[in-house]
Symmetry: C2
Amino acid sequence: MASSRRLVALWVLFTLVLPPHLLSVGGAKSCFWPSSAHDDGSCLSWRVMVEANNARGWRTVPAPCVGYVRSYMTRGQYGRDLDSVMEQVSAYADQIAAADDGLDAWIFDIDDTCLSNLIYYEAKRFGAYDPLAFKNWASQGACPGIPAVLQLFMALQDKGFKLFLLSGRDEETLSSCTSENLESEGFSGYERLLMRTPDYRGQSSSLFKSAMRKQLLDEGYRIRGNVGDQWSDLQGENVGDRVFKIPNPMYFVP
Amino acid sequence: MASSRRLVALWVLFTLVLPPHLLSVGGAKSCFWPSSAHDDGSCLSWRVMVEANNARGWRTVPAPCVGYVRSYMTRGQYGRDLDSVMEQVSAYADQIAAADDGLDAWIFDIDDTCLSNLIYYEAKRFGAYDPLAFKNWASQGACPGIPAVLQLFMALQDKGFKLFLLSGRDEETLSSCTSENLESEGFSGYERLLMRTPDYRGQSSSLFKSAMRKQLLDEGYRIRGNVGDQWSDLQGENVGDRVFKIPNPMYFVP
């Protein structure tokens, strides 16, 4: 019993005295994302490249990083990253005012911006895009809302901005389940839901979204901000006064 | 003696059996960057926001992240991130060919793209931009070259691309020391060094660099790639067919 106590005391002493990197197996290599114990920082490099738009056109999460991505998404860092981005958006929004003419607009993407597909992609082990399976998932209207984004969404409306939801989802087949899903997760009061019409099927997201934004400008709207998880939401024509990239290391949309 | 051995054996057992995040003090909080022991991942969030161009206009590294940035830059992750970006550039360059007309161009920024200012910024504890002190540092021509970028620099020349060095450094006062510094670090054989002329003093880097790129286009060059550590190198007009963001959490240039 005394021996056990000594062991525990020694253990506590170790954890208090030794610098953290010496306490972790493999030094600084593995402890940040516990489940990717063999990662040496290269999955972090890859993730940062995705966020900086250096890594493009990838079809799946690299096999050695699947565990890393799961840990990133579920163990806190994704939430922290998301909150940090929302703080930036809020700080920017606080500097601008919506005019009385009701033409100051913000654009929000839907998938993994307002609504989370983490459950779906985690079950697929972040594998290659499967249009039928994804459509099946989306049509259930069961995507959880992303609370930090919802908070911003409501705050911008309170400030008098008009919100447009712009999604590459197919309008014909997914319109009603998408609007119901948004509603059930609290995303309401927005100006318009813009989804991919048959004319734009097969076109890149960037091209389709540029065309939709052009339409809004033609109607007189000023795009003051644009929030999306893909660079294809945020590049192309008329992207808006400022764009915000929401983290997403799960998939790439061209 | 036997007791000591048991303690050691128990310690080894702990490190082998327990998941790494349980072995580190404070869970996943602190062990990735040992010297920023109190960081809870928020400095990582901040760095990713810088790379994704979500955090803009910051004048200094946030005070709680100074230790984090130093560790990031000096303990391996910066090097890994840099190597990963270079791999992306090489993969892209391998897909394109330089035409025989000698008009296929690449643009490289200088500071913290070709030449490193880490020594300078570390000594200043990543504090606010100090034009005089920086000019003094730059005029010594003692910036170390960044080997991974030099390797790419040489490889692109071997492939027949024309390389342009485009820098916001003042031409009148820093031209000769800059070209000597580049030469001494192995950056030679490039087509032209474009620096800020008196006309562009006080203008944003993005505006100045856009104007220089326009000049190259007017001369008939095709900008096939553009490599820089600041988003102001990579945004604006005529940025090139593809841009690559080199990591830099040390400072922000508008």
